[in-house]
């Protein structure tokens, strides 16, 4: 029999106003096993904690029940008190009489009886509690960053700076991400590559960082501190260790009609290519789908011209397995497919471009060497229309777009307008917007500069249709909501600020890492406000747009936050593991494998064990739970047909005792 102490908290008047706390304490004295019951103003205060510790000593308590706020709030506090006073921390139960009683019921008539029932339920459960020991697990002192954009680069740099090893896995042939495609950045008009490239070089040269480009994470197992990750390194068909990056192969390649992904398909590239001039690593990759050698077995020019004989068509994909203590997901975003918006002319006319295509058109390293021109006739546009919120802030039933605000479009449109006006002052720019959103340091000033100093024509309203005209112009038919009139503009070029969405690969990755994602494929944080870079899965963190739309400085700040969380984890030598895990009763288990089939963590294996059962001695196949892998969900304990599997801390008997008490 336990010797139980019951401690009822007033929480000032939070509980005491609608629950007669002294009645609850009085009722507790008549419960089985209870030897001491008391109420106090603030149990979580130092005095309250001392009161509990003293009672444990004075009355030789073996278990305690605290009737207070939610266990999510102070369970850890009271467990620490119990442990300090010499009893097992898992001999503590909390009756939640604040959030789930006093705060949701009007008066004492309603609150007090419920609080008493909740107290009795906790006593019934604690009577069946048994001491549990937390396990320990080691921490692999190496982190994995998935995604090599600015979010991943910054996270990796910050972790490496703290002295830990980091690996970056990037799906594309080069790191750099979306930021490497941008021309200038708002609101300072810094050149994007000029600030990104040094970071990329830093990552490449840091002895603590390894980069796996053209690689993908294909399997993840394990748990916080001990992840085992399978990385598939796709074959470049070029030996990186021999390649000098001279680029002769790319210039001689006869297959040159593949759309250039880096320039968003505005020009073409050879089948053997380096994505962009500052690519890291500066090693070409053969696009096997378009390479003549891979298609027909002929050609082979790149191999012949390579001065260092680095081209090797026989290279195969390589699968490596590595252990990590922590994983950061930084897979970034892309613009949604704008072909769905046919009425705006995207995909119909070459002169309707997306904002990111415009970035490439304005970039000195882009397909037009930075000269702004129409893709149809290479003339410089004089009349330009920007359309905002294409696919952003859509109605929930509009399947083509997203309900959220993509956050960055207002600012980059102002930036693009200013840059165009700077280079070509005779251009007329019209911007159709729903709202202009400019929260951020120097953002509104920047937008006002576009309007006041550069004379960009902002029109509040929507565009209904963009029609290509026979004379090559684009007829834009919109509406001005402020003046309540139709607006018709014959434009030379139309730019669509499309919504951004998380990289679609995140769904696969989320399944591998057991992460939760929202309806828009953004990752969910462990807590939206207080744990914004941690995933609910311990040891997994997030940085960048994978969590929600954000601009570059926000991404960099979040990358730093994720890095410090990783460093905090890697700095530990041992981690405590949850002791509330599944446990089979060897005498009941018949080794049927049902539990292993429902376990989401692969924590259950089967062992042959000698069992003594009623004088019989025989070897049986029975379930065995890996304490490091089991997370304690309890799915197996319900699935077990013989009732052999149980969940420590939430045993069948305990839950039944709670049910019985509630129904009394």
């Amino acid at each position: 029999m336990q010797r139980i102490g019951v401690f009822v908290c007033h929480c000032g008047t939070n509980i005491a106003a609608t629950v007669d706390v002294s009645k609850v304490a009085e009722a507790a004295k008549h419960e089985p096993g209870v030897v001491y019951a008391v109420d106090y103003t603030y149990m979580c205060s130092e005095n309250g904690q001392n009161l509990i510790a003293q009672a444990i000593k004075d009355y030789g308590l073996t278990a305690i029940v605290v009737c207070s706020c939610s266990p999510r709030m102070h369970e850890a506090t009271f467990r620490a008190v119990a442990e300090k006073a010499g009893i097992n921390p898992f001999m503590v139960e909390i009756a939640n009489i604040r959030e789930q009683c006093s705060w949701v019921h009007k008066d004492m008539e309603e609150g007090t009886p419920k609080a008493i029932t909740l107290m009795k339920t906790a006593v019934a459960k604690v009577n069946l509690d048994s001491p549990l020991q937390e396990g320990e697990s080691t921490v692999t002192k190496r982190a994995l960053v998935i995604g090599g954009g600015i979010a991943g680069i910054q996270t990796a740099l910050d972790i490496a700076d703290a002295g830990y090893k980091v690996d970056i896995v990037e799906k594309l042939p080069s790191i750099g991400g979306r930021m490497s495609q941008l021309d200038k950045t708002f609101p300072t008009l810094d050149c994007s590559s000029c600030i990104l490239t040094p970071r990329m070089t830093e990552v490449n040269q840091n002895p603590n960082i390894r980069i796996f480009t053209y690689s993908e994470v294909t399997d993840v197992s394990g748990f916080v501190g001990n992840f085992t990750v399978q990385i598939t390194k796709h074959s470049r068909s070029v030996r990186a260790e021999d390649c000098t990056g001279c680029g002769i192969c790319t210039s001689k390649c006869p297959s040159r009609k593949t759309p250039n992904e880096f320039n968003r398909g505005l020009d073409t590239r050879p089948a053997i290519y380096i994505p962009f001039a500052q690519a890291i690593p500066n090693v070409p990759v053969i696009d096997k789908e378009h390479c003549i050698h891979f298609k027909t077995g002929k050609c082979g020019i790149c191999s012949k011209v390579c001065p260092s004989h680095a081209v090797d068509y026989e290279l195969k994909d390589e699968i490596i397995e590595e252990k990590y203590g922590a994983i950061v997901v930084a897979t970034g975003f892309d613009m949604i497919d704008l072909h769905k918006f046919g009425e705006l002319g995207y995909g119909v006319s070459k002169d309707v471009v997306s904002s990111i295509e415009l970035e490439r058109l304005m970039n000195a390293a882009g397909p037009t060497s930075g000269h702004l021109e129409r893709m149809s006739d290479h003339k410089q546009p004089k009349e330009m229309v920007f359309i905002q919120c294409v696919g952003s802030r859509c109605a929930p039933d509009d399947r083509r777009g997203k309900t959220y605000c993509s956050k960055i479009c207002c600012m980059y449109t102002a930036k693009q307008a200013i840059l165009i006006k700077d280079h070509y002052p005779d251009t007329n720019i019209h911007v159709f917007y729903i709202d202009v959103r400019t929260p951020g340091k120097n953002f509104d000033e920047f937008y006002r500069r576009a309007v006041e100093q550069y004379g960009v024509d902002y029109i509040k309203g929507n565009v209904g249709k963009v029609t290509p005209l026979p004379n090559g112009k684009l007829h834009v038919h919109g509406v001005d909501l402020l003046d309540q009139k139709d607006v018709e503009i014959d434009a030379d070029m139309v730019v669509l600020a499309g919504a951004i969405e998380p990289n679609p690969d995140i769904r696969k990755l989320a399944t591998m890492l057991t992460l939760s994602i929202d309806n828009n494929n953004f990752l969910n944080e462990a807590h939206a406000k207080l744990r914004p870079v941690e995933a609910a899965t311990a040891g997994v963190f997030m940085s960048g747009v994978v969590q929600g739309p954000k601009d570059i400085p926000e991404t960099v700040a979040q990358a730093g936050a994720a890095a410090i969380k990783v460093v905090g984890l890697l700095a530990k030598d041992k981690l405590k593991t949850n002791p509330c895990i599944a446990e089979p009763d060897e005498l009941y288990c018949n080794g049927c494998s049902v539990c292993a089939n429902v376990c989401p963590y692969g924590a259950i294996t089967y062992v042959d064990k000698e069992i003594r059962d009623h004088g019989l001695r025989e070897t049986r196949r029975i379930a065995s739970v890996n304490s490091a892998l089991c997370k304690g969900c309890g799915a197996c304990s319900v699935a077990c047909p013989s009732g052999a599997m149980n969940l420590k801390g939430f045993t069948n008997r305990q839950i039944m005792a709670e049910v019985d008490t509630v129904c009394q």
């Binding site: 705060w103 019921h105 419920k114 989401p600 304990s637 319900v638 969940l647 839950i655």
Partner: protein
């Protein structure tokens, strides 16, 4: 035994039989019927949602008592049968939204198990409305309260559970 009208459904016949068995004292209690409702809430979503309902001071009846489980997949259908046997009038199981389970797949098991349980209750002649499965996330405090209010109303309308209760368990 009162005479039973020929038109009465088997369900109604049994209710009447039971009420007769429970005696007059119980019949009087029916007028001020306060149901016993057990709510199983998963630790990660629904229990947090219930806490949020508290933070928002969203009222729901005190007849509902919450039992915390790590995952809705921990709820054995036998716990629900046990509750009915012990005199519960309704049981509600709350878990994370499908796809959001902290343990990845726990609520999918809940969904299947409870679908089976509910069809079995239906077969036994117990109103299906007495068991409900709801998905409540940690951010849906208001929704938690409104679900609980609605469920309590449903149970009040259904009246006392006389079909499954083992009256030997009654105090």
């Amino acid at each position: 035994m009162p005479v039973i009208e020929k038109t009465a459904s088997p369900e109604a016949m049994l209710e009447k039989e039971n009420l007769a068995y429970l005696g007059e004292a119980d019949a009087k209690k029916e007028s001020t019927f306060t149901p016993k409702i057990v709510a199983f809430c998963c630790n990660w979503c629904s229990y947090a949602g219930a806490d949020l309902a508290g933070n928002n001071r969203a009222d729901y009846p005190a007849d509902i008592k919450i039992i915390r489980v790590p995952c809705s997949g921990r709820v054995n259908p036998l716990f629900i049968m046990r509750a009915f046997e012990k005199g519960a009038d309704g049981v509600i199981i709350c878990g994370c939204h499908p796809g959001d389970c902290h343990y990845t797949t726990g609520n999918y098991y809940t969904r299947r198990r409870m679908a089976l349980l509910i069809s079995m209750l239906d077969y036994l002649g117990v109103d299906k409305g007495r068991v409900r499965v709801e998905w409540v996330s940690a951010s849906e405090g208001a929704r938690f309260a409104s679900i609980m209010n609605e469920f309590a109303d449903t149970i009040k309308n259904l009246g006392r559970n006389v079909r499954l209760e083992d009256i030997r368990c009654r105090n």
